[in-house]
C-alpha cells in the first residue's frame, strides 16, 4: 500500500504542511490537537490520501459518492470520535475490492447455489464481494430514487439513517430493482462489517487514518509487547498506538 511516506522525515513534514486539507483538519480538531503541534503521526496521516481528492481504484465516482455517504451514516463524526470519512474508510473499502478478498478468491464459488438455503448455512450467493458491492450500491440507489427521488448520497441525514435501518432489517426488496438474489440485509451486513474493519484495522490498509479510531478507544495497535503490564491491573495503558508502518500516534492529552 502507499500510505507510508517514502520521503525523508523533513521532506515529509514540508509535504504535510502543503497537504493539510479538510479531512486532516477535521481529524486534528476532533482529537483536540492544535495545528502547530502536529507531529510525526500526523505527518504519516498526511501521507494518506485526502478522501475528497482520492481517485478510486474500483468504484466509479457515483458509486464512491454513495459508498462514502453510507460509511458516513454508519460511523458519523461526533464529539466522541472522528467518524468513517475523516479516517478514510471509503478508501479502505475501495482498496479491499482489489484484493483476493474482494475478488472472492478464497470463497467457494462453484454452483449450484441456493440463496434461500437459510441463515444457518451462511453466505450462499454466487457473487464475489466486488460484484456484491456493485449490485448492492446500484440497487440501494435505485430504491432511494424510487422512494425519495434522489440517490442515497443526496438524501438528508435523517433519510439516510432511515434507509440504512430499512436495509438492515431486510425491508428493502432488491428484487424490485433488478436484483432477485441479493437481499438488502446481506448487503448491509457486509457494509457494516467492512466499515467497522476500515475504521479499526491498521492504517496500512487505507482506513483508520492517523490511528484515530485506536486513539479513541485506547487500543495500542501493533505495540505487541506487554510482559511488564500483565500484572498491572485496572490501570489505563498510558501509551498511544503504533502501526505496522512504525508510526506512532500521541494521546490527545499528552504533550508531545
Amino acid at each position: 500500500m502507499t500510505q507510508t511516506p517514502s520521503t525523508p522525515p523533513q521532506q515529509g513534514l514540508r509535504r504535510r504542511e502543503l497537504l493539510i486539507g479538510s479531512a486532516i483538519a477535521m481529524t486534528a480538531a476532533t482529537l483536540g490537537i492544535p495545528f502547530g503541534r502536529l507531529t510525526a503521526a500526523e505527518a504519516a496521516a498526511a501521507g494518506a490520501p485526502d478522501l475528497a481528492s482520492y481517485t478510486p481504484t474500483f468504484f466509479d465516482a457515483e458509486e464512491m459518492r454513495a459508498l462514502s455517504a453510507i460509511c458516513d451514516t454508519l460511523i458519523p463524526a461526533d464529539e466522541d470520535g472522528p467518524g468513517a470519512l475523516a479516517t478514510n474508510v471509503p478508501v479502505f473499502i475501495d482498496l479491499q475490492m482489489d484484493t483476493s478478498y474482494g475478488r472472492g478468491e478464497d470463497w467457494y464459488m462453484e454452483g449450484p447455489h441456493d440463496p434461500n438455503a437459510g441463515d444457518a448455512f451462511g453466505y450462499q450467493l454466487p457473487y464475489d464481494l466486488r460484484t456484491l458491492y456493485r449490485k448492492g450500491l446500484a440497487a440501494t440507489d435505485a430504491w432511494s430514487r424510487d422512494q425519495h427521488g434522489a440517490g442515497f448520497a443526496d438524501l438528508s441525514g435523517e433519510q439516510r439513517v432511515e434507509a440504512l435501518n430499512a436495509l438492515s432489517k431486510g425491508e428493502v426488496d432488491f428484487a424490485a430493482y433488478g436484483e432477485p438474489m441479493l437481499d438488502g440485509e446481506t448487503f448491509f451486513d457486509f457494509l457494516l462489517q467492512n466499515t467497522r474493519e476500515g475504521y479499526l484495522a491498521d492504517p496500512i490498509y487505507g482506513g483508520n487514518k492517523g490511528m484515530a479510531a485506536w486513539v479513541m478507544i485506547g487500543f495500542p495497535g501493533a505495540r505487541a509487547s506487554f510482559l511488564e503490564w500483565v500484572t498491572r491491573h485496572n490501570i489505563p495503558y498510558p501509551l498511544g498506538p503504533v502501526d505496522l508502518g512504525g508510526n506512532f500516534a500521541p494521546l490527545p492529552n499528552v504533550k508531545a
Binding site: 462453484e110 448455512f121 484495522a201 496500512i204
Partner: protein, 578 residues
C-alpha cells in the same frame, strides 16, 4: 504430467502437529521419511515483529487458514436437509501450510481426565439403563490412562507447557510436574479466580503452550518467554513463544538427512494394492498440476481430522458409515465442542484486553464428568468453566448490550465498550450420536475434482441440557462479580448449529475413531487402519467423542503413542497390530 517419485519408507500426509511428531519420531528410528504438505512453507521473516500484529489479515482475511475454495466442506444439520458448501470461512478454521493449525492455535494445552477416556464405562457404572438419550454412541478410548499419560507428559515437555501444579484436584495422575510455571493473571483472571475460590470451586491457570519462561525442549529447540503481545489465536507467534511445529520440532527435524518435505503437494488419494489390504503410496497434485505418485511402505495420514476422513473415503479405506443401519465405520461419531457463556461489562474497570497470550485465563474442572453428580439429570458430559483473555483486537470487540451497532452514538459505544468487558465461558463436551456423521458430498467437488466432505451435524439435546444446567451455575459466578451489564451468549435446548461467519472453535474430532471393535471403529488402539494395515491415522479423527478439554494435548500424545507402536512393533513385523 504423471510422475513417480523415488520410494520412501514412510510418507507423512500433512505437516501440522501430528505430521511433525510422526516424521521426527520415525526419522529418529532411521526410516527414510518424506512429508507432503499442500500449503506453503512460510519463512520466519514473515512472522517477524510487527508483521503478525495485523488483525485484518490474520483474524478476518484468514491469512494462514485453509480457504473454502481450496479445501472446503459442505454442511447440514440433519439428513433431510440438502448440504450447502461452507462458502466463506467462519465457524471453524483449519490451518494452511507447514505447521497446520498448530501455527495459529490458541495453545491451551489442557489434558482430558481419566474419566473422559473411559466415558462408556462411566455411563455404565453411574446411569440407570435408559437414563440417557437412545441416540448416543459413546465409546471408550481404547487406551488406559497409564498407557497414554507418559506421552502427554512428553508432549508437554516438547511444548514447554506452563501451568499450576497441584491446583486441579480432578486431573489425572501426572508423571512429572508442568515443565514451566503458569502464565500471569490478567485482571479478569484474578477476578474470576477469587470468585470461583470463594464459591468452593478449584480454579487454576489455563495450561499454556505459550511459554512463561525461556525454555529448551527435549529436541533442543529454544522457546522465548511469552510477552503477552495480544496476537495469538489466529496468528503466528511473533516472539518464538507459542509452541508450534516450527518452534518446537521442525528446526531439528529439517536437519536430519533421512527426512525431507515437499510443499504445494496436495494428496488426493492413498493408492492401495489390488488386494486392498495394504497401501502402496499416495498420489498428490503439485502446484504445476502434475499428478505425482509417491511410493511408500507406510502411509501416515496426519492432516486435519476432517481431511483424514475425506482421504480415507476418497481412497476407499474402510467402509462408509451409514446412520440408518449403523454399519460402516468411516465417518462415524463425528463430534465438535459447544461454546456457551456470558460477557460482563464493568464501567469502572480497565481490563487492557490487548495484554494477552492466547491461553491467558483461569479455568476449573468441577463440572467435568464424574466431578459432579449428573446421573439423575438426563445427560452425561461436562464443561471446563473459564475466564480467558485471549485477545483485545478491536474489530471483533464485544459491544455493551443496548448500544447502537452503527450510526449516532456508535463512537461512544465503541469507547465505552472497549477494554471494559470480561467473559466467563463454558467449553462443553460433545457426545457422539447416531445421526452426527461425515460422508462424501454427492454434488460439490474440490479444485482437484474430488468430492468434498459432507458434515451432518447438530447439537445433541444431551449436550444442550447439560448447557442449560451449567448456565445456572455459571450465572451465579457472573452475578457475584457484580457487572454493570451482561450479554447472555449461552446455549439452550432450542439452540441449533449454524455455519455463519462467527468463530466457534476448530475442535472438530471423530469420524475415524479408535476402538477395540472393528465394527464401531475405523482404526485400532494404535491408530492403525483395521482394513489397510500400513495406513496409520493419528489425529483428532480418532476421538470416539469429544470431551471438554482442548484437543491438542491428547492429539500430540496419540501421535507419540502411534509412533512408538510403529517403531517397537510394526517395523519388526508389518501387519495388523491387533
Amino acid at each position: 504430467m504423471n510422475i513417480t517419485n523415488e520410494p520412501v519408507d514412510a510418507v507423512v500426509v500433512g505437516l501440522g502437529w501430528t505430521g511433525a511428531i510422526m516424521a521426527i519420531e520415525l526419522a529418529k528410528a532411521g526410516l527414510r521419511v518424506r512429508a507432503l504438505e499442500r500449503g506453503p512453507d512460510r519463512p520466519n521473516a514473515e512472522f517477524a515483529y510487527p508483521k503478525p500484529a495485523d488483525e485484518l489479515a490474520y483474524a478476518h482475511r484468514h491469512k494462514i487458514m485453509q480457504s473454502p475454495r481450496q479445501a472446503g466442506f459442505t454442511v447440514r444439520r440433519t439428513r433431510d436437509e440438502t448440504a450447502q458448501p461452507m462458502r466463506v470461512l467462519g465457524k471453524f478454521r483449519l490451518g494452511d501450510g507447514v505447521g497446520g493449525s498448530g501455527l495459529h492455535w490458541t495453545a491451551v494445552q489442557i489434558r482430558p481426565t481419566p474419566t473422559d477416556l473411559k466415558l462408556k464405562t462411566f455411563v455404565d457404572e453411574h446411569y440407570a439403563p435408559g437414563a440417557l438419550d437412545e441416540e448416543l454412541q459413546i465409546q471408550n478410548y481404547p487406551v488406559s490412562w497409564d498407557e497414554i499419560e507418559p506421552h502427554m507428559d512428553f508432549f508437554d515437555r516438547v511444548t514447554g507447557t506452563s501451568g499450576e501444579d497441584g491446583k486441579d484436584p480432578f486431573e489425572g495422575p501426572r508423571t512429572s510436574p508442568y515443565p514451566l510455571p503458569a502464565l500471569k493473571d490478567t485482571l479478569n483472571c484474578a477476578m474470576f479466580r477469587g470468585q470461583a475460590e470463594k464459591m468452593g470451586y478449584h480454579p487454576f491457570s489455563n495450561p499454556s503452550a505459550a511459554v512463561s519462561q525461556a525454555y529448551t525442549n527435549p529436541y533442543g529447540q529454544q522457546i522465548a518467554p511469552c510477552n503477552y503481545c495480544g496476537y495469538c489465536s489466529f496468528y503466528a507467534c511473533l516472539n518464538y513463544s507459542k509452541a508450534s511445529p516450527q518452534t518446537t520440532i521442525l528446526d531439528t527435524l529439517n536437519r536430519m538427512p533421512n527426512y525431507d518435505y515437499l510443499t504445494g503437494a496436495n494428496v488426493t488419494k492413498v493408492e492401495l494394492h489390488p488386494d486392498g489390504k495394504t497401501a502402496r503410496g499416495v498420489t498428490y497434485v503439485d502446484n504445476d498440476g502434475n499428478e505425482v505418485f509417491q511410493p511408500a511402505d507406510i502411509v501416515i495420514l496426519a492432516s486435519f481430522s476432517l481431511n483424514n476422513v475425506r482421504l480415507m473415503l476418497n481412497s476407499k479405506i474402510g467402509q462408509q458409515y451409514d446412520p440408518l443401519t449403523g454399519e460402516g465405520t468411516v465417518g462415524r461419531n463425528y463430534a465438535y465442542q459447544l461454546g456457551s457463556g456470558y460477557t460482563m461489562f464493568f464501567k469502572d474497570k480497565e481490563f487492557n484486553p490487548f495484554v494477552a497470550a492466547g491461553p491467558t485465563g483461569v479455568m476449573f474442572n468441577d463440572f467435568g464428568p464424574g466431578n459432579f453428580d449428573s446421573s439423575q439429570l438426563g445427560f452425561v458430559g461436562g464443561a471446563k468453566v473459564h475466564s480467558s483473555q485471549a485477545t483485545g483486537n478491536p474489530i471483533s470487540m464485544a459491544m455493551m448490550p443496548g448500544s447502537p451497532k452503527w450510526g449516532p452514538g456508535f463512537n461512544k459505544a465503541l469507547k465505552d465498550s472497549y477494554g471494559h468487558s470480561m467473559a466467563v465461558k463454558m467449553t462443553i463436551s460433545n457426545v457422539s450420536t447416531r445421526g452426527n456423521y461425515l460422508d462424501l458430498d454427492p454434488t460439490y467437488k474440490d479444485p482437484y475434482g474430488m468430492p468434498m466432505l459432507r458434515m451432518t451435524y447438530d447439537y445433541p439435546q444431551n449436550d444442550l441440557r447439560l448447557a442449560e444446567f451449567l448456565n445456572g451455575k455459571v450465572k451465579e459466578i457472573v452475578d457475584a462479580l457484580g457487572p454493570d451489564m451482561v450479554v447472555d451468549g449461552t446455549l439452550t435446548t432450542k439452540s441449533r448449529m449454524n455455519y455463519t461467519a462467527g468463530y466457534s472453535s476448530t475442535h472438530n474430532v471423530g469420524g475415524a475413531v479408535m476402538g477395540d471393535d472393528p465394527r464401531t471403529s475405523a482404526v485400532n488402539r494404535y491408530l492403525q487402519s483395521w482394513d489397510v494395515h500400513n495406513v496409520f491415522v493419528p489425529s483428532g479423527s480418532a476421538f470416539p467423542q469429544n470431551f471438554q478439554a482442548n484437543p491438542t494435548a491428547l492429539i500430540g500424545a496419540l501421535s507419540y503413542w502411534c509412533a512408538q507402536a510403529i517403531k517397537d512393533r510394526y517395523l519388526q513385523n508389518p501387519g495388523p497390530l491387533v
